[in-house]
Amino acid sequence: MKLKSLLAGLLAGALLAGSAVAADVSLLNVSYDPTREFYKEFDDAFAKHWKAKAGDTAIIRQSHGGSGKQARAVIEGLQADVVTLALAYDIDAIADAGLIPSEWQKRLPHNSSPYTSTIVFLVRKGNPKGIRDWNDLVKSGVSIVTPNPKTSGGARWNYLAAWAYALEQPGGNEGKAKEFVGQLYRNVKVLDSGARGSTTTFVERGIGDVLLAWENEAYLSLKEAGADKLEIVTPSLSILAEPPVTIIDRVVDKRGTRKVGQAYLEYLYSPEGQELAARHFYRPTDAQVAAKYSKQFVKTRLITVEKVFGGWRNAQKVHFSDGGIFDQIFVPGGKR
């Protein structure tokens, strides 16, 4: 029958075209949403570096999604050799599942965060709603786009930055901060599961007045959509976001990829890796590279999770666990 032979032909053709290429070593990097473009370039650079250094051909595969969701997948058995996630708590969760030692964060410099970032506002060109700082976000008539803190790492940084801002205001306390952040989330129009989903909602679909975004994601949007459409607003206070990296011991020991996995992460700290990170608008930790790109990053006061929230485990428990403060203040649909 004609249809059958057609299908068979298609299938055979596809199988031939995609037949496996011999590879010396493969790595799976499970990462969060906005790092797609950075790791695409970094993986190529590392493959060249590894070829020159060890003589092996390294094939690096990527998986991207909301940071919390990705950690969940690794816990459920996604065979990640390395994870490069948005915040330490998501990797703590992997440690709690027994896949890596609990002191994983001490294994690499700078709390295992080769680059840092912060949270900024992305607004429409000309800033029609006059958004300058966090307190402009809670005004009525402002519609906000941010991902869901339950699944997205960037969203948790957004939330904590807003909370820290409210605490710093005259007479600020936990109760007022809760009221402030609750008001902010009542202005949220679309709650996507990952940072990239939020960006496309804001930039491509044109929904919302302001996107709470990773600094790197905001600059990338500016580059992709054109500086004639969007503007970046840096608030008076933001948060030092440290997206950490680690190898997954359980996986690399099983697959025999510890050496190359380790080298991959260390390459992130090398001048080449730092340079690439800076070019993708991540703040480099290497002092020399940071100095070179200092003009690219605006200076604003950055608080840390350790100082204001007593570390990620605590912040997670108080704010984002089931029944935590986020669950109390966020009512879907933005109504009370």
Partner: protein
């Protein structure tokens, strides 16, 4: 057998007389409502897919499709369908056969359960496999001990696809086989045919168009499934991305033209499915009419 055909023919006649009895304005309103819905909700989005895909010209379109990751996605989609569809074909025939030809305890229950994948959200369809085969799931520790990867690998994607496409063939065959009854098979057995002979020479020819129809629908869904597959995929580029997942990734990476190029392949698949479906439907009807004609001349 003849009762079903009479019913079929009766419903056709009724449809014709009912529509002609309506006043003219009602006809115009109804047709324009149907057509405008069709244009807004189906034609417009479909057109958008192709328009967006070709926004950067044919060169970019083809480039998006010959890309290595795109090929890997297409290949995985074909492999998944190549495993899921035959399995569901075997299951569908077996289920329809046992339901239509035998009486047994739990028959009603089986019919209800066949429909389960239709009523369950695809996300749940994916999650049940994570709960079964994930590292923290029921069989997780055993699977890890034996170094078997199901979730976040091709087997998980195939399983989830089988689950969501499970009812298509069976649903298509059960009414057909029930209507046909088992007189012909019984006659064949009386004349000394073996079980296989009955199946090949009597049952299969009787159900072939219905079967093909079910397979086409099953295949379309197998290739297009997003939700369930997304949950079990792990989204590893070049490894566990089917075409629908790859479309999402491209879209998220600002590759709009490429995303719509791959989406246009899926849309083409839908159109081909539709064409085949119409063809098969026509064949089925012709077959039924032939049977009706012969049974009438006999009586």
């Amino acid at each position: 057998m003849s009762t079903s055909i009479a019913l079929h023919a009766g419903s056709l006649e009724r449809a014709e007389t009912a529509s002609t009895r309506e006043p003219a304005w009602a006809k115009v309103v109804l047709i324009s409502v149907a057509l405008s819905f069709f244009a807004v909700f189906l034609l417009l989005p479909l057109g958008t897919v192709f328009a967006e895909a070709l926004r950067k010209g044919w060169g970019a379109y083809l480039e998006a499709l010959v890309n290595r990751d795109a090929w890997d996605a297409i290949r995985l989609t074909l492999i998944t369908a190549a495993i899921a569809v035959p399995l569901n074909l075997v299951f569908g025939v077996a289920a329809a056969w046992s339901i239509a030809k035998f009486e047994f305890r739990g028959k009603r229950l089986l019919i209800t359960f066949i429909d389960l994948p239709f009523s369950v959200s695809p996300v749940i369809s994916g999650l049940i496999y994570v709960l079964l085969f994930g590292a923290q799931g029921w069989f997780g520790p055993w699977l890890q001990e034996h170094d078997i990867q199901i979730i976040f690998a091709v087997p998980g994607i195939v399983l989830a696809t089988i689950f969501v496409t499970f009812p298509f063939v069976a649903r298509e065959l059960i009414p057909l086989m029930e209507a046909q009854g088992s007189e012909e098979e019984e006659a064949a057995v009386v004349l000394g045919a073996s079980g296989w002979q009955v199946f090949w020479h009597i049952t299969l020819p009787n159900i072939k168009w219905g079967l093909l129809y079910g397979v086409i629908l099953c295949n379309a869904r197998a290739m297009g499934e997003f939700g369930a597959v997304s949950v079990v995929s792990g989204h590893i580029r070049g490894q566990t991305n089917t075409m629908p997942l790859y479309v999402e990734i491209l879209y998220n990476e600002y590759n709009y033209a490429a995303a719509f190029a791959v989406a246009s392949l899926l849309a083409l698949l839908a159109i081909v499915t539709l064409a085949l479906k119409t063809l098969v439907e026509r064949q089925t009807r012709r077959q039924l009419q032939e049977i009706a004609a012969t049974s009438e001349s006999e009586t």
